[in-house]
């Protein structure tokens, strides 16, 4: 799924930022967000509120999430 995320990041550059978090290293962030499985994708708006949460790799769902975040 990493290439898919890279492609979408370039496609939505300037509208949606991407922050990659290693769940084994940044354990505090993982626990704060309630991460149960990887990969997990969480979309936040500009105020930090959760827009959408996805578990597992689904390119179509990921693209839809990018579009939703860009419009928020």
């Amino acid at each position: 799924m990493a290439p898919v995320v890279d492609g979408l990041e370039k496609q939505f550059e300037g509208k949606v930022g991407v922050k990659r978090i290693n769940a084994n290293v940044d354990y505090a962030s993982s626990q704060k967000m309630g991460i149960q499985a990887v990969p997990t994708y969480i979309f936040l708006d500009s105020q930090g509120r959760i827009i959408e949460r996805q578990e597992g790799g689904n390119p179509d769902a990921l693209k839809a999430g990018f579009e939703k975040a860009a419009g928020s």
Partner: protein
Amino acid sequence: MMSRCEWCGESLFDSGPPAGDGTASGGQVHAQPPYDGYGPPGEPPSGLPPSEWGHGAPPGPRPPAGGGGRDPWYMSPWPYVAGILILLAAVGALFLFKGKATSYPDLVVNGRATLLDFYTDT
């Protein structure tokens, strides 16, 4: 001298000597059964009707049954309306506070919408 029943005033007659087999007999009895219900006929000693004999009912008129014609509270719609309104207010407050609690501004990148990509090395 003929005896008379204290309750009904009927005359009594002697039924004869006891049977001797343990059964209740003998003594002075009525010529006929003094009543065919649950109380002796005639005027009771206390002046109360038969339904009040032995119960010791207080004097005075009886109170009306059913609370004087008023419906009980569960027959009115207002307690149910109030309960539904309280429930809706509680659910609404839950959603309101839930939305305000989940916010992570420290994870936002450059003040714009952000994707958090949680991964592992394995």
